[in-house]
Subunit: 263 residues, 2 copies
């Protein structure tokens, strides 16, 4: 089942996606809901980020083949394999939906890269859950782009702007509740050309391990987002590009890239 | 004017504090509100964190006399003076109000310390504001405790749990709208004994500089909290302690310290 959050007539609603058709639901996607008889064509609504999360989590380095590149970006000599997840928080203001522009700040480095990722959507309040039980607290999965300014990522003490600048967290297009989380392909295309292809089976820490680890100290809430981490070497985005994160079985998150306009 | 957020009859309300009296208001504390005629005694209500922030920001090292201690905590040889604020995000789940316990996790290091700070409360949406204009976007100031596990702070890649574990962000008791932000004394007492005394005039970066800097890349929203940073050497909290952050002219944030109980 594909659950979308969308705007219509100035209101935020949820619905179930079937092909090009979107059927509204009543109730809470985290508790109980009923499908009603109001239908829309996907083309007639504005898809929003699939939740309004209290927090957006990322795991730190989570792919063996991203370690050397990350060490290079951060100016470190020897890539270090983490012994456990090293969670960090992506600023909530960076969240944006499919179709919305990724805005390159006027003062960014010019080295703003995509990172195509799978994203777990928390479905239930979650504190000190085990790795084995963690999947019971996940509503489903969606696509995410951990947009990253590589120079800020290297020079700042934290990722607050490198990965948290406004519009640097496109997420969507919807939540797929039925998928095998550790058997997903995460394909990134820029202007139609494949530039990244990761597999969640190669995650150093599974979604269950990351969620369990965070929940030992920090409570996770329904709607919170947990990114998978990314893989391999990436290249810079430029104004005019269109970047897609395609996870077969889930959907395609597509965002144009624009330069910031200031007065 | 002192604006408190509180719970009464199971509802969240705002009110104006005068001595022991709390008078309810109607409307938005960020836009327009009217004082109505419903009064409470402060003792009869539960004070809540003064806002429900979209984000909690801290500035990185912001006091010259905290640099050497911080370098020691982080295992670095030479303390580095930052050239600009180095913002980071404190997990929203860590937020708690005055009177609520700071809970020491069962698996914490035993070196969980207080950091008494002043906290700016954003009053208006804020993007690319100048240092000079930043104060116009601040509603007022309150007290905060940047509770920190010193071992996690040293060993983890980020402060996600060192400073973001549940209950590690007591904030309150209310917002004071009329104070000179760069002339505040931040006094911490543990069990009545003064253990820390900082002055906002010694901040390396003023609130205006921090807010302006963050707002260049990340939009700040009404209710967002911006901590001042902390000063000097601190010591560990223990179960049974009561820790107070007292900012004369604002109020006293008081929290008991308890050990986590797990099943």
């Amino acid at each position: 089942m594909k659950i979308a959050r969308f705007g219509v007539d100035g209101q935020v609603r949820y619905g179930i996606v079937n092909g090009e058709e979107l059927t509204e639901i009543r109730g809470s996607i985290y508790k109980k809901f009923k499908v009603n008889d109001i239908k829309h064509n996907l083309k007639d609504v504005v898809l929003l980020p699939p939740t309004n999360p209290s927090e957006i989590w990322c795991p730190g380095l989570n792919f063996a083949n991203h370690l050397e590149y990350a060490a290079e970006v951060l100016g470190e000599e020897n890539p270090t394999v983490p012994k456990h997840p090293e969670p960090w928080i992506k600023a909530r203001s960076s969240l944006t939906g499919t179709g919305n522009p990724i805005i390159l700040p006027v003062d960014c480095s010019g080295e703003v890269h995509y990172e195509g990722e799978a994203v777990a959507v928390i479905g239930k309040l979650c504190r000190r859950v085990t790795v084995q039980d963690a999947h019971q607290f996940v509503l489903g999965y969606t696509c995410g782009n951990d947009v990253s300014d590589r120079v800020w990522q290297r020079d700042d003490w934290t990722f607050w702007r490198a990965k948290g600048a406004d519009t640097f967290a496109p997420v969507g297009p919807w939540i797929e509740t039925d998928c095998n989380a550790q058997d997903l392909h995460m394909i990134v295309r820029v202007n139609g050309k494949e530039v990244q292809h990761g597999k969640t089976e190669e995650m150093l820490f599974s979604f269950g391990e990351i969620i369990s680890y965070i929940s030992q100290q920090v409570t996770l809430y329904p709607g919170d987002l947990v990114f998978s981490g990314s893989t391999g070497v990436t290249v810079a985005l430029n104004p005019g590009d269109v970047v897609e994160v395609d996870i077969p079985g889930i959907g395609v998150l597509s965002n144009p890239v624009v330069a910031e306009v200031t007065l």
